[in-house]
């Protein structure tokens, strides 16, 4: 959060109804080996009551993006450029104090592993009450009532007694519910869920997803849902953003992206996803190669070293020129729309169904 | 014995030299002239190493001659590292307790030193140094009038008898045994306790034919052979008086009753001890001791390193402080002697110890090897490891400069000319010696000093073609290990000092064939009939006659038997505060003379 450069690339759709709008976000960590561009020119919008899914492999920058929105990156080692506007408020330039007022209040986050994300030293009740007391100026009693109300809402049995339990006395699913209850204590307008179900088994996962959807209906929050699991995202998200090596490579509604993906990376993601109805003998197709080092990212399209279709693009465009991501339904790839369609129909689709 | 042990395993003072009675010159030094000093020390020591004179009644009466400039009053602070092992006189055989005994306890006789360092024996409780009759087999002592213990009770012959008889009791086990074994006679000396199992506590006493007290003031000792050294023996702290009424047996060891100029006011074992004036001590009855200061405050547990640093600094109460039996720490010797202001606050002189490299005669049987090693050893580098000229001097023979009969120039192996060793000569002697015999197992202590000695010995012997196999021994049990009769070592370093200024307390324990047993000081296991005969002859001779016999014995040992290679004489260097007056080296105790100290202001 140091310097703010003027955003020139306002390429993403800017609806007036956008609750959160991220423009040309650049996050750079300085490390001993040199700067790491964890997020490199990312733009997206989220509307109230809608869910934006962000998918991508580990290290693609999805978690960093969301920590940056909350301002939880380490200011000592991180440089942030771009623009994050939530409900008309610029967050990158906001003071620590202003951010504190927003965190847990207007925007809240659900973390991946509730075992480590909840403090082992304090009761669940206390951890729930804290933000309510802080943001609403509530008394201990009021906060406790609210916490019990929220614990009830997320489906914790005997919330009154569980209030005084420690996180380690909860089961995994219960902990995640408590975590969600904590995030919802102050009716946040923006809820960021960072792989909230990864650590859970499938039945619990479904319950949690249902819970989130129900709660969204009730509170009308905007949700950013981060995952690497396309199966989960298809149930949850309205819109989808696919990230690769710190950049967005494809955007669109969840339905569009899932049914007619346009970026070779998205194809790879879909091909490597197991499906319940697929033939067991059919081998999954992993994406060849490994994600690039963000210390020395490849020039041009960052996916090009792993991409099977660079030959189809004239010249060395893939390795020299960064493909732009257009507005609305779009993908950042040098292939022509026709090429994408042909390739998808001929090579990819047969593998998916 | 063994200053060596005192330096390496300080805590084991029990095993240290007994009240080592040395004859040395040198009370003060001018500082900074170490080499010259060494020569001077030697010269003075040599002129004084004559047999001790026995003083008559006139010389045994008090008060003692005043120390010039002495003032009364004040309290002297005393630093001491290890706690005292014993305070019961019967248990006292070591230097630290012996040193404090000089302030607390009186004996039948005592050593008296003049300003030149000449030592003689005077009467202490006795009116004189003792009257012998029957060719030295009977000794009679008359007690002085007006001698009282700290409780005001007069000391009678019954108290003297009790002091002797209690030494037969089981609870007395650490003190000297000369008197008891002599009284028991040759036939019973090994088990003298059987002569009086009750130690006199059960109403049974030694027969009048052994120890007689015809009246309150007279004590008579009867022996089966002449005991010319008796006045010196009785001057040992171990034979000090324990008043019969005051004796608490085992408990006496921490709360003794004083007869000397000071008494114990407070004592916390191993921590502090406060001595105050004993008002029942009458200076008119004492020809040696003074009572200038009001008392002494002992602080135990102060390391020699700290003692030296504090005394160098000479701040506050350290001005009134002395080292008791501690020495200037080796690494700080230069800081002390290099600064004239500090150096004038030292006392120094020879200790009674001769350090030597013993040959285990049961293993090193080839005399040529022993001779060659004696030529080869490097006294110079050994002394360097002891702190240089202030730590020791080259020893050309077995008699220390403190011993009557010391011959400064008796040097059969040319040690004084070639202190670094005569390599050529040694090689020549070894020319025809088979290789198997040129391998020697050398035992050394794992202390810092021991390591240095190991290097010096190894270097020297390797140069002449001897294969040295060095074996390390835990420093605490070093003397115990080399004292074992069947020890697996060929050569090892040991030190020995006299109990009183007579070669009988050196040659007898170290070279007498009857002393070959586990734990004895005859580390070389010498079993030579001629030595035996000479010892038997000398111990019954008057000191002046005996001197010639001892000389013969030493020459024969060093030239014909070669049980050990003489290495170096140890030296004493102690520091005291600037307000301490009357400080001088006591050739009797080989420490600062505590009986004549005063505070300048």
């Amino acid at each position: 959060m140091t310097t703010l450069t003027k955003t020139e690339d306002a390429s993403a759709p800017t609806g007036p109804e956008s609750f959160l709008s991220v423009r040309d976000l650049k996050v750079t960590f300085s490390t001993e080996d040199g700067p790491v561009k964890a997020v490199d020119g990312l733009s997206f919008d989220v509307q109230r009551g809608k869910t934006l899914g962000i998918v991508g492999e580990s290290g693609s920058g999805k978690s960093v993006t969301n920590l940056t929105i909350l301002g939880l990156h380490s200011p000592r080692t991180t440089t942030v450029d771009g623009e994050i506007v939530m409900d008309g408020k610029e967050l990158i330039t906001a003071s620590e104090k202003e951010l504190e007022q927003l965190r847990g209040n207007k925007m809240a986050m659900i973390f991946q592993d509730p075992l480590t994300a909840l403090s082992p030293f304090y009761t669940v009740g206390r951890q729930l009450s804290e933000p309510f007391m802080k943001h609403r100026g509530a008394s201990k009693k009021e906060a406790k009532d609210r916490a019990i109300e929220m614990l009830t809402k997320v489906g914790i049995p005997q919330p009154k007694t569980r209030f005084d339990d420690y996180p380690h006395q909860f089961s995994g699913g219960m902990r995640q519910r408590a975590m969600i209850a904590m995030a919802l204590m102050c009716d946040p307008d923006l809820l960021i869920a960072d792989e909230p179900t990864t650590a859970l088994d499938v039945t619990v996962q479904a319950q949690i997803l249902d819970l989130l959807k129900d709660l969204q209906q009730e509170f009308g929050s905007a949700i950013i849902f981060i995952t690497h699991d396309l199966g989960v995202i298809s149930q949850m998200a309205d819109d989808l953003l696919v990230m690769y090596a710190g950049r967005a490579v494809e955007r669109g509604s969840a339905r569009e992206v899932m049914s007619t993906p346009k970026h070779p990376y998205t194809w790879g993601l879909l091909s490597s996803m197991p499906r319940l109805d697929s033939n067991l003998d059919e081998a999954l197709e992993p994406i060849p190669g490994a994600p690039p080092s963000l210390l020395t990212p490849p020039d041009g399209c960052r996916f090009h070293p792993r991409c099977a279709y660079t030959d189809l693009v004239p010249g060395n465009q893939c390795s020299t020129t960064r493909p732009p991501l257009g507005d609305g339904r779009a993908s950042a790839c040098h292939l022509t729309a026709e090429q994408k369609q042909t390739l998808f129909i001929d090579k990819i689709q047969p593998r998916l169904r | 014995m063994m200053s060596h042990r005192s330096r390496t395993a300080r805590a084991v003072v029990v095993a240290l030299a007994a009240g080592s009675l040395a004859l040395t010159a040198c009370s003060k030094n001018e500082g900074g002239k170490s080499n010259a000093d060494s020569k001077k020390d030697q010269k003075q020591a040599a002129t004084q190493s004559q047999a001790v004179a026995y003083i008559d009644a006139a010389g045994s009466t008090g008060p003692a001659k005043d120390v010039p400039g002495a003032k009364a009053g004040g309290t002297i602070q005393v630093y001491q590292e290890a706690g005292l092992s014993h305070l019961d006189p019967g248990q006292i055989y070591v230097s630290d307790a012996g040193q404090i005994a000089n302030l607390l306890f009186r004996r039948l006789t005592q050593f008296q030193e003049d300003d030149k360092g000449n030592v003689s024996v005077a009467g202490d409780l006795a009116t004189d140094s003792g009257q012998s009759s029957d060719g030295g087999k009977t000794w009679t002592f008359k007690l002085k009038d007006g001698v009282k213990d700290q409780n005001g009770n007069a000391i009678t012959s019954a108290d003297v008898r009790h002091s002797v008889e209690r030494l037969y009791a089981k609870f007395i086990f650490d003190g000297p045994t000369y008197l008891q074994t002599w009284l028991a006679g040759d036939a019973n000396s090994a088990d003298y306790r059987k002569q009086l199992p009750g130690g006199g506590f059960d109403g049974k006493h030694l027969p009048a034919s052994v120890l007689d007290t015809p009246d309150d003031k007279t004590v008579v000792f009867h022996f089966d052979k002449p005991r010319p050294d008796l006045p010196q023996t009785l001057a040992m702290a171990g034979y000090a008086i324990v008043p019969e009424k005051a004796d608490t047996k085992e408990k006496y060891d921490t709360a003794p009753v004083a007869t000397g100029p000071y008494k114990i006011a407070e004592y916390k074992v191993g921590k502090v001890m406060k001595l105050v004036k004993n008002t029942n001590w009458d200076p008119k009855t004492d020809s040696v001791r003074h009572q200038y200061v009001d008392g002494f405050n002992f602080q135990f547990g102060v390391t020699e390193s700290t003692q030296t640093k504090r005394l160098i600094a000479d701040q506050g109460d350290n001005k009134n402080t002395i080292q008791f039996t501690g020495s200037v720490e080796a690494t700080q010797i230069q800081d002390v002697v290099g600064n004239p202001e500090i150096s004038k606050r030292t006392i120094k002189g020879y200790q009674p110890y001769v350090m030597q490299l013993d040959f285990n005669l049961d293993r090193v049987k080839d005399k040529k090897v022993r001779e060659a090693v004696t030529y080869a050893v490097n006294s110079k580098s050994l002394i360097a490891g002891e702190g240089g000229a202030y730590g020791g001097d080259v020893a050309p023979n077995y008699f220390a400069p403190t011993l009557p009969g010391y011959e400064a120039t008796y040097d059969p192996y040319g040690r004084l000319k070639t202190p670094q060793g005569n390599i050529e000569k040694a090689k020549e002697i070894l020319k025809d010696v088979p290789a198997a015999e040129k391998k020697l197992v050398f035992a050394y202590s794992n202390s810092e000093a021991g390591q240095k000695r190991k290097v010096a010995i190894e270097d020297a012997l390797t140069k002449v073609g001897i294969d040295v196999v060095a074996k390390e021994i835990d420093s605490a049990s070093y003397y115990e290990q080399i004292g074992k009769l069947n020890n697996p070592y060929d050569i090892y370093i040991s030190g020995w000092g006299q109990d009183w200024p007579s070669p009988s307390t050196v040659v007898t324990p170290v070279y007498d064939p009857s002393q070959v047993f586990d734990g004895s000081a005859n580390y070389s296991h010498v079993k030579d009939p001629k030595v035996d005969a000479l010892i038997k002859k000398a111990v019954t001779q008057e000191p002046t006659e005996a001197a010639a016999t001892w000389k013969e014995a030493q020459h024969y040992l060093l030239e014909n038997v070669i049980p050990a290679a003489p290495l170096w004489y140890t030296k004493q260097l102690q520091l005291f505060g600037s307000n301490i007056g009357g400080a001088r080296y006591s050739s009797v105790s080989s420490y600062i003379d505590v009986t004549r100290l005063y505070l300048k202001s």
Binding site: R103, A108, S119, H135 | M1, A9, V94, N318, E480
Partner: protein, 325 residues
């Protein structure tokens, strides 16, 4: 909790017995004993036997051990008098009752230990926390640098330097000495201030580094980030969330240090010529003074076990996860 304490106490008693037995029999198995060291000059077999008898070393080893162990609970009688429970025997060397010797030296050791602990905990943890809170700032760099330099010092190096500066060359302060607190509180404070501070300095450096790194580690914990994500202030999170977790390694190390110091700080005691438990232990071992060594070992082990239990209780207070287990 009560059950836990009872169980641990019983365990400690058994451990103490085993430590006592091990010390005793190792000692007896050693090649030389006190008698042969003490025998010294004129060591005839008769004399050696006399010493052994006087000290009770002639009795069967099992009996000696039994007498020693029962003495702890029942007291013992010696020729010099009765030794009431807890009787740790009579020192071979000084003839003093070991229990009273230890009790005599203990106040000094306690002063060093508690005094030193207070200084290095307050200063060390304070500096470490501050450095972690202002990571990368001048304060941090200074604290890190200073603790690096200081922790490479040793007491036997720093001690004499401080003594030369404050005592020997300037006379600003007197030689360190121990005066009982009850007798002269000012003298106690002044006399012990140099040793306590020098010893604490070395520890302070370690604790600064430990507190800092432990704190930084905790600040990177996910639950700390969660607390921040809830909108709690940096300070609040630092002192409520991160601080508590960072205490665990500090408590662990402190427990070890504290009990070790109670067992005697040999180097500090030697450097300043003080008489505490540490030098007793060294003296006991070098002179083969069996009762003294046994006594010091048992008292030291006792403290280690007690502090161990206290450390475990402290864990339970800090971290609810270890409660009731």
């Amino acid at each position: 909790m009560l059950q836990f304490i009872i169980r641990r106490t019983l365990g400690a008693v058994v451990t103490l017995f085993l430590i006592g037995a091990a010390t005793f029999f190792l000692f007896v198995a050693a090649p030389s004993d006190y008698a042969s060291l003490a025998c010294g000059k004129d060591c005839s077999p008769q004399r050696l036997a006399d010493i052994r008898e006087a000290l009770g070393l002639n009795l069967p080893v099992a009996q000696q051990f039994w007498d020693f162990m029962t003495g702890i609970f029942m007291g013992r009688d010696f020729p010099t008098g009765h030794c009431s429970a807890p009787c740790l025997g009579q020192s071979f060397y000084s003839g003093e009752m070991v229990w009273s010797t230890i009790m005599d030296r203990f106040p000094l050791t306690l002063t060093l230990t508690v005094g030193g602990s207070i200084v290095f905990l307050v200063v060390g943890i304070g500096a470490g926390m501050l450095a972690a809170f202002r990571r990368g700032s001048f304060v941090d760099k200074f604290a890190t640098g200073a603790s690096m330099v200081l922790s490479s010092f040793q007491i036997y190096f720093l001690g004499p330097i401080v003594l030369v500066i404050l005592v020997y060359s300037t006379g600003l302060m007197e030689d360190p000495k121990y005066v009982p607190l009850t007798q002269d509180p000012v003298g106690w404070f002044v006399g012990m201030s140099i040793p306590v501070c020098v010893m604490a300095t070395i520890f302070t450096a370690q604790y600064t580094r430990m507190a800092r790194s432990s704190m930084i580690e905790q600040l990177a914990e996910e639950h700390v980030r969660t607390a921040r994500a809830k909108g709690m202030s940096k300070k609040y999170v630092f002192f409520r969330y991160a601080w508590r977790g960072s205490l665990i390694p500090i408590v662990t190390v402190f427990g070890i240090d504290f009990s070790a110091m109670l067992g005697g700080a040999v180097v500090t005691e030697l450097t300043f010529s003080l008489q505490g438990i540490g030098r007793l232990a060294v003296n006991g071992a070098t002179t083969k003074d069996l009762p003294l060594t046994m006594g010091v070992m048992l008292v030291g082990a006792f403290f280690i076990l007690i502090v161990n239990i206290l450390t475990d209780i402290a864990y339970a207070f800090i971290d609810p996860r270890v409660r009731l287990s």
